[in-house]
Amino acid sequence: MADHDRRLQETYAQSAPPADHPSDQDWERLALNELAPPERAALFDHVTRCAPCAALYRGLRELEAEARTFDPGVPKRADVVPMRRIAPAWYAGLAAAAVLLVALLLPFHSSGPPPNPEVVRGTAAPAPVPGQPIGEVVGRPDAFVWEGMPGADRYRVELHGGDGNFAWASDPVAGTRLAWPESLAPPPGVYYWRVTALAGGERRLPADVASRLVLFEIVAVPRASVPQPR
């Protein structure tokens, strides 16, 4: 399947591009967040049909990401995407366990700042790299694992709910692995986490450096695989 899809991607990328490319002004307005949503969508509809324009768009994104590191005049992006909310339907049928659930979830309802969208996208600058958990996870993950960055010897892990709200943060830890805390019992759903290399320490990192946010989804353990008491 993966090979088939790769072949489709390679073939699609070699298709003849359409003729009506966006004008220089269109690109400029896109970069400056001046396009109305329908114009923006129309431009992306072209980008996804035209390999040279897709390359140009990627170049502009790279320009923006890098420019943001030294020019405070770079405008905020228009494409900040809302985090997925946990579907209310998920809670249906759990009324009986509501009290227990609330107790377990208390840490997840503390309102903190939503994830910084700049961090969601990440930057090209050195930063720690989240490893696990990522993608779909059956049951509670075992641990947070990441790749460290030069100059850092202490890290802090942050967990955010699927709605983007801050849920939990670890104390500073040495090393690049943190066992999942026993006290943390999140229900199935989408979550985001990131790891921040902390300033100071013996290696004297000059400032905190946060990784990009990584999404993972906890899915319920299938009933058949749960050991039954005899």
Partner: protein
């Protein structure tokens, strides 16, 4: 720091950044991008800045000029990269395949993919085209303002539809 010096530094930083991005976008022909591209970017940035009537630079002004210059340079250098080096060599270097059967098979598959895409709903078609263009889920979310779940579902279901449509046309993985 003197505002003028800071302004000069900003322009120089943009000069280096734009030339790096242009070289990268030029792709496999990056070696063909001229070495003086950074100097060229700098001169062009200054020319545009000096030509403006507005002397009270808004904060995003330099960024706007940098984007304009980057787009112009990326178009110019990618076009240059596609120019044939010598007569007669162009078709081989562009295509990279000598076997006409491969070209024919590719054209037929491209036609089948396009036909399969037209069978999708509008949103699935957008998601699949973006996926086939090599954009990842996060990028597709940003392009169309979709949530992660929506983007992922549209890609997964759209790709399933495309595979099915291709299989009906005799194209199987």
């Amino acid at each position: 720091m003197d505002p003028r010096v800071r302004f000069d530094n900003l322009v120089r930083q943009y000069g280096r950044l734009i030339s790096a991005v242009v070289r990268k976008v030029a792709g496999r022909a990056g070696d063909l991008v001229r070495e003086d591209v950074e100097q060229k970017v700098l001169v062009s940035l200054w020319r545009q800045i000096e030509g403006e009537q507005n002397i009270e630079y808004p904060s995003s002004y330099i960024y706007r000029i940098a984007v304009r210059e980057a787009v112009r340079m990326m178009r110019q250098e990618t076009a240059r990269a596609q120019e044939p080096l010598e007569d007669g060599v162009a078709e081989i270097t562009r295509d990279g395949r000598a076997d006409p059967h491969d070209s024919l098979a590719r054209s037929e598959l491209q036609r089948d993919i396009e036909a399969s895409l037209t069978e999708l709903t509008a949103e699935r078609e957008r998601a699949v085209r973006a996926h086939l263009s090599g954009f990842d889920v996060q990028e597709i979310m940003a392009m169309y303002g979709w949530t992660y779940q929506k983007a992922r579902n549209l890609i997964a279901r759209g790709m399933a539809d495309v595979r099915e449509a291709l299989a009906r046309r005799g194209v199987r993985g």
